[in-house]
Amino acid sequence: GDQVKQSPSALSLQEGTNSALRCNFSIATTTVQWFLQNPRGSLMNLFYLVPGTKENGRLKSTFNSKESYSTLHIRDAQLEDSGTYFCAAETSGGNYKPTFGKGTSLVVHP
């Protein structure tokens, strides 16, 4: 099965509403990275997390290593938040390659 499971796979939000995306890990995870891939295909870094919480503007992300999940909260969704959100987990053992989830496709509509 998938080592990094993202949910939901797709999401439609009305502008101004809030929502949360989630990644569950079936592998021991030391760090998590969240990306947004915009409709043009560029991958933008959102957060890089050790266990804990980070906040940046309308976005907040938490990584709970004991319960093996990470969340990305979007507050007051805007049209420009549309795109595909990926999480990537780095596993313990010192390997150099993060494992990506399959993504959450978000559409924010007026």
Binding site: F35, G41, S42, N45, Y48, F86, E90, K97, P98, F100
Partner: protein, 113 residues
């Protein structure tokens, strides 16, 4: 700050052709990666390189070669392009810190006729 550049931005090839994609980074990062992304799908790791002259296979290395000529550059070769193949190839780099925070280039979009 730094930047990752990928060339070419668009690549059109013929079936059976050998095609090379290039990636340059000026972050002075040790580790570089090549991913393939098919339309509407996630990222699959093709090759990565921990340091200059190192090469490691990812999950999708068959049909590809890679070369880490120097610290700042990492090339990927499609050894024999498949007809009707369409994908985006993404290059990334990272430095060993707390972990391996990755930064991505803009991608090369491949179309095989």
């Amino acid at each position: 700050g730094g930047i990752i550049t990928q060339t070419p931005k668009f690549l059109i090839g013929q079936e059976g052709q050998k095609l090379t994609l290039k990636c340059q980074q000026n972050f002075n990062h040790d580790t570089m990666y090549w991913y393939r992304q098919d339309s509407g799908k996630g990222l699959r790791l093709i090759y990565y390189s921990i340091t200059e002259n190192d090469l490691q296979k990812g999950d999708l290395s068959e049909g590809y070669d890679a070369s880490r000529e120097k610290k700042s550059s990492f090339s990927l070769t499609v050894t024999s392009a498949q007809k009707n193949e369409m994908a985006v190839f993404l290059c990334a780099s990272s430095i060993k810190g707390l972990g391996y925070e990755q930064y991505f280039g803009p991608g090369t979009r491949l179309t095989v006729l």
